[in-house]
Symmetry: C2
Subunit: 218 residues, 2 copies
């Protein structure tokens, strides 16, 4: 039986390794888990014993097939619960992450299947991240960062890179959400800021915003 803590470490390793197949260092893992490197070492050894990661001393850890399956399943649960919280309970997209962190650990395949059906088999969560299906397959959206947009083109907002409350609240305040149309008017060479038109209103967004908003040509 896998513990809650093990599940969280596996999820962190998955995210740090960028979709599964890159070595993750002990320090990076410790930082992600808000713990100390020594604790991360201990856990990584345990995960290696249980065959969820391959681990070589001083080299880092990488998920095995079975570790990957667990990670993807937790992510599936996390994102389905986020959809539930936003679509059904009317939470805003900046509130749901922490709650989903708790809900993702509920153990029941049947619950997740039924929740998935209840939500209409969504393919993306409220931040535009893909929801793996029950076989672990993702539907990736062909997206670019706003920073890479072309002037005089119109795009659809399809996701965020940074899904921190602060960034999402910034977007809320500026009435930008998934599906919002964004027309790119001008790219300022000096500071890489971008002038856009949203909901009929012109505004300028900084480069840090442009680096964290995903768009797709309409």
């Amino acid at each position: 039986m896998i513990t809650l803590t093990e599940e969280n470490y596996i999820k962190a390793i998955y995210h740090l390794s960028k979709h599964g197949k890159e070595m993750v260092s002990t320090n990076a893992l410790a930082e992600a888990m808000r713990t100390k490197a020594s604790s991360a070492t201990d856990m990584v050894k345990k995960l290696a014993e249980k065959n969820y990661v391959d681990y070589k001393k001083y080299q880092g850890a990488i998920l095995t097939e079975s570790g990957s399956t667990i990670a993807i399943n937790v992510i599936r649960k996390h994102r389905l619960w986020e959809v539930f919280l936003v679509d059904k309970l009317h939470f805003s997209w900046d509130e749901v992450h922490e709650l989903a962190e708790q809900l993702e650990h509920i153990k029941s395949q049947k619950l997740i299947d039924k929740l998935d059906a209840f939500l209409g088999h969504p393919t993306h969560d409220p931040h535009g991240d893909p929801i793996p299906d029950k076989h672990g397959d993702f539907t990736f959206i062909d997206k670019i960062m706003l920073a890479q947009a072309q002037v005089n083109e119109t795009y659809n907002c399809v996701g965020v890179n940074d899904s921190s409350s602060k960034f999402l609240q910034y977007l809320n305040n500026n009435k930008i959400e998934l599906g919002t149309k964004i027309e790119v008017l001008h790219k300022e060479a000096f500071d890489s800021s971008i002038k856009i038109k949203v909901n009929g209103l012109e505004m300028v967004v900084s480069n840090s915003v442009a680096q964290n908003l995903y768009i797709q040509k309409v």
Copy 2:
């Protein structure tokens, strides 16, 4: 911060003390928690330190005001989740208990408030047990056991005493659910079995069934 285990012990004490204000013995608590008496002693001491119970050596434990509030809140969450699982995800009433045991520990007042609203502020769970409102108040139904019914009267099924899967599945098999009309035809003095008419069909239920089904005169 209260741990998951503490919360479960507090809930067990609440149930064993029959709605809060009766001493609970260490052995009874240990049995309910499927653990050993020594573990129950340890936990009860810890709960006493945190002021969730009053505890006297060799006398047992009883919930304080603050312990009681916690217990009722966990029960509220448990029963709301059960309603969600049955009404929205279409689980059957014999499947939801274990899942609700997990979901009841999700920490978020806002989530529970929104879930409550989403479900239409239900007053009873799928087994007929009352759901405390956000102030901790219950709406008790004026119910009797089927064993106490009068012959030639018609009743409404309003709850169960035993909510084990086996009993609930027995009721499922016999098409008895909350709201089902039950006409009492005959009480057998010999074995206390009862002949009833349900959905137009006559059947005989044993005394153990009659002791576990709550009804209300229509």
